[in-house]
Amino acid sequence: MVRNARQYIAGAVKSMSLRNVFLVLMVVVLAACASKNTREQDELGYGTQAGPVAGAQSSGVGQGDAGAGSAFGDSAAAGPRASALNRTVYFDFDRDSVRAEFREIIAGHGRYLAANPSAAVRLEGHADERGSREYNIGLGERRAQAVRQALLLQGAAASQLTTVSYGEERPAVTGSDEESWALNRRVEIVYAP
């Protein structure tokens, strides 16, 4: 992990932008958090709120409330070490437009990819279980493409991005209710190892 952070710092320093210097600081903070207990993480997490990027709100996503909850907007959480929560974009029923609260997550990954040309992500699009399966492959593909376009706008290169649609075949959670469906309509941003 320390090595990853160092690599990241080296890459960021090379590109010499202020934004990247900020990202580096955030990564260092998060790396430090990872080795402490939960309480300390909370305290350190508050510290990051002073920065120019809006603070990390604890959204309800992890508690099964994706429909209503807002997402982490902390761009420092972008990149391969981002939590699953910060690598997942949720969608409305039968829609492929990126909701406002997820734009900052995607922007963070876009900036990370722009700064790290050797990094690559796989965008895995998913749908909820309702309706026919192959049509849902289409919905998942559209969602993956929507995230791809947003990443391209942030400076990621097309060669860094691949997409796959699993439709409803790989749900994040089982269950046939609004909550489960909301958690399954998603694109997962998966960094290549």
Binding site: S132, T163, E169, P171
Partner: protein, 438 residues
């Protein structure tokens, strides 16, 4: 090393096939939940057996279950039989008439030479006292089940005028999913009554959209085993399979042309935009049939092979359209309701089975192609993947029961429904085989 791993990855499903196939226990069972207003009362008398070993197979029992499963017959319980003749000459028509039975099946299982058997049976019209059918079917021990299904098919056809489908098969996918990731996915082929389950492919990644070749010898399907969607064709008997489409992006929804020479496919060609193509299997020539910014998928060939029906959301929600198989402009076919998808064409070409949104529920409906009207046949909340029996009388589809996928059947008039619960796993995407070649 990476190459070896890759190879292993490619052949792993085949290896698993041999590991898993013999030990599968969870068989499907049929339960009737509805029926026709007045099923025909029939009796199937236990078959005679004079061999030295115990009865090798209960032929009459299987014929009884087949006939009852159609919902068109009321089969007299064995305990209520007034006599147990095994030859036509011994049938007492007056006694059966008193019971209200309209048709009687009698027969014998005969031991032949070299370990073989012969199923000999006769079907009688009780009211007229006439033989309707008399037949001898030779079979090896392992083939007694199939031969009994064939006997049931003949009896069914004689009494209803419609070919029976008891000797056909079904393919379906069983998933055992773990939350948040992969699970196990198996493509299975079983007899139409759910018996004889055999695993065609097992994989840790999703398997989708099985489709029978018109000769019933091959299955096309989608596999994510290489972490992308690819279309394969697998020969049932040998297990040999071939990757037929692994183009950039989505490769999905394969269906065979009626002559078996082409596959209709959904491809995104890496552009994120799904369209319908046909692939000529011999020449590998790919022909684009749609070119829209919307989702075009779920192609189904018309019975004569001239048209391709498909799902498109070019007008907003998904609806059914059709396009000439040689290419041309598309016409909308479905107009009732906000959601109509995944068409399948009836064997007579006169109607489509689709998934429709019926007041918030996903249900199986048919669309009459001449008159245009829609009839909803099922009453589930998430019914999907309808597939016609080759005689056009019944649809098999996937539904949910107690939170998991199960298969069900519904007659084309919606009056007979059956659940086919499996013992384990999430069962989905049933595809009914063509009639078996003799």
């Amino acid at each position: 090393m990476p190459t070896m791993l890759k190879r292993l990855h490619q052949i792993l499903p085949i290896l698993l096939l041999f590991l898993v196939a013999p030990s599968l226990q969870a068989q499907l069972r049929i339960e009737i939940v509805g029926g026709v207003a007045r099923p025909m009362p029939v009796a199937v008398v236990p078959f005679g057996w004079e061999g030295r070993t115990p009865l090798p197979f209960d032929v009459a029992g299987l014929i009884s279950r087949d006939l009852a499963s159609s919902g068109r017959f009321e089969v007299l319980p064995v305990a209520d039989l007034v006599q147990r003749p095994t030859r036509g000459v011994d049938v007492d028509f007056r006694a059966w008439k008193m019971l209200g039975v309209e048709a009687v099946v009698v027969g014998q299982l005969l031991e032949g030479t070299a370990g073989g058997y012969t199923i000999q049976f006769q079907l009688f019209d009780v009211l007229r006292g006439q033989q309707l059918l008399g037949y001898r079917l030779p079979a090896q021990a392992a083939g007694l089940r199939l031969a009994s299904h064939r006997a049931a098919d003949m009896i069914y056809e004689k009494l209803t005028g419609v070919p029976g489908i008891f000797a056909t098969r079904i393919a379906y996918v069983v998933a055992n999913q773990k939350t948040g990731g992969s699970g196990s996915y198996r493509l299975i082929v079983a007899d139409a009554d759910g018996a004889n389950e055999q695993v065609m492919v097992a994989s840790g990644e999703p398997i989708m959209s099985p489709a029978w070749s018109p000769d019933g010898r091959k299955l096309a399907y989608v596999s994510f085993e290489n972490r992308v969607a690819e279309v394969y064709i697998q020969t049932l008997r040998s297990g040999v399979r071939e990757k037929v489409s692994a183009r950039a992006g989505v490769n999905g929804s394969p269906t065979w042309s009626p002559d078996g020479r082409q596959l209709a496919l959904t491809l995104s060609r890496g552009e994120g935009n799904l369209d319908i193509f046909t692939l000529d299997l011999a020449s590998q020539v790919l022909t684009r049939l749609t070119d829209q910014r919307s989702i075009e998928t779920e192609a189904a060939w018309s019975a004569d092979g001239r048209q391709i029906f498909f799902t498109s959301d070019r007008a907003g929600g998904p609806q059914i359209y059709r396009v000439p198989a040689q290419g041309g402009s598309a016409q909308r076919v479905s107009f009732e309701g906000s959601y109509n998808a995944r068409p399948r064409v009836s064997p007579d070409g006169r109607r489509l089975a689709v998934v429709t949104n019926d007041r918030g529920n996903y249900r199986i409906a048919t669309i009459d192609l001449e008159r245009g009207f829609t009839q909803v046949l099922t009453d589930g909340r998430q019914d999907e993947s309808p597939s016609f029996a080759p005689n056009g009388e019944t649809l098999i589809y996937a539904t949910r029961e107690a939170g998991r996928g199960v298969l069900a059947m519904v007659s084309i008039d919606g009056r007979v429904r059956q659940r086919i619960p499996a013992a384990a796993g999430d069962v989905r995407e049933p595809a009914w085989s063509p009639f078996r070649a003799n």
